[in-house]
Symmetry: C3
Subunit: 132 residues, 3 copies
């Protein structure tokens, strides 16, 4: 299963928990796992606090300061060297347990798509499986 | 399956390999996978050297210096902005292969629970499955 | 399944996509997942751009600057403290979806073995499973 996402800024963090949960709910999984994979080399996926938007702003600001633009060997080719470093550190895959058709996320956890080189049309791949 | 952990400091790395292996051993898995998931937004899980305790001290000290306290937008809300950044970079999930009911960890690898905002009562979720 | 890799430098990034795809092709998987695990405490695995070699050089140079040699408590034991910090931040595991016996990687994505303390003989463990 997969779905698409249109990002609107060069860098942004987008909470995709509800889209993932909607796909998980199509299955009948008493106990299982859900893998989320981003098939792009300048985007990633992680989990972060889902309540105060400042948390994701802090995360993005940290990455921006640590991995600034315009100082990478790859920039000669297409100017997004920083986006590749960010994506390969955060990584494009995460696996989350499922119980009774629900993602077993903690109360404060949301699944966050990380755009590092937008705006672009992005794809999110979701695979669910029973472990019992 | 899941188990609880009581952390005792604001930040600490706790080797949880033996607890995970005990849960894996309850199954009969010739070849499979074990996913470990932390349902908290200020904690994470990784793998690190299991012998010299200084290795985990180095890891934590690196994160403390890179992601210091008291300089995040979220701190106005509850003062743990740094813990969220640390958790979303290390991420709360890891998947490890199993062979003949044993985690296929290297000799020097241990599974490390990362507390970034303790002391707290924490939960660790463990899912195992056969791949054959 | 597993295969071996001989690294030739202290630090290098090696594209292992073709070796992983060859192992995936031995199965008959319409829809599934592939987990890659590195059983070493000074190596890791991530995904990065597979075309311009400068991208992986940028990634490694970033880690070298952020996590320099010779300033870690563990260095008293064996001088590879930096390699452990790098490995536990990048982590030794990644899970990738499979469709019709092919890894569902994006056009620009390659699976990258990260050597942080070579040259050494390394092992890569690969587990595939059907999700349908």
């Amino acid at each position: 299963m997969q779905f698409n996402l249109k990002t609107t800024k060069r860098e942004e963090i987008i909470n995709i928990t509800s889209q993932i949960q909607a796909l998980v709910s199509r299955h009948s999984i008493k106990e299982g796992l859900c893998n989320i994979f981003i098939p792009h080399a300048t985007a990633a996926v992680t989990i972060n606090e889902n309540c105060d938007e400042k948390v994701c702003e802090d995360f993005l600001e940290y990455l921006r300061k640590q991995i600034p633009k315009n100082c990478w060997k790859h920039d000669v080719v297409d100017g997004n060297g920083d986006a590749h470093v960010k994506a390969s550190i955060i990584k494009p895959s995460i696996t989350i347990p499922i119980q009774h058709n629900r993602l077993m996320l903690g109360k404060w956890q949301g699944i966050m798509f990380c755009e590092f080189n937008g705006p672009r049309d992005r794809t999110i791949i979701v695979n669910c499986l029973n472990t019992k």
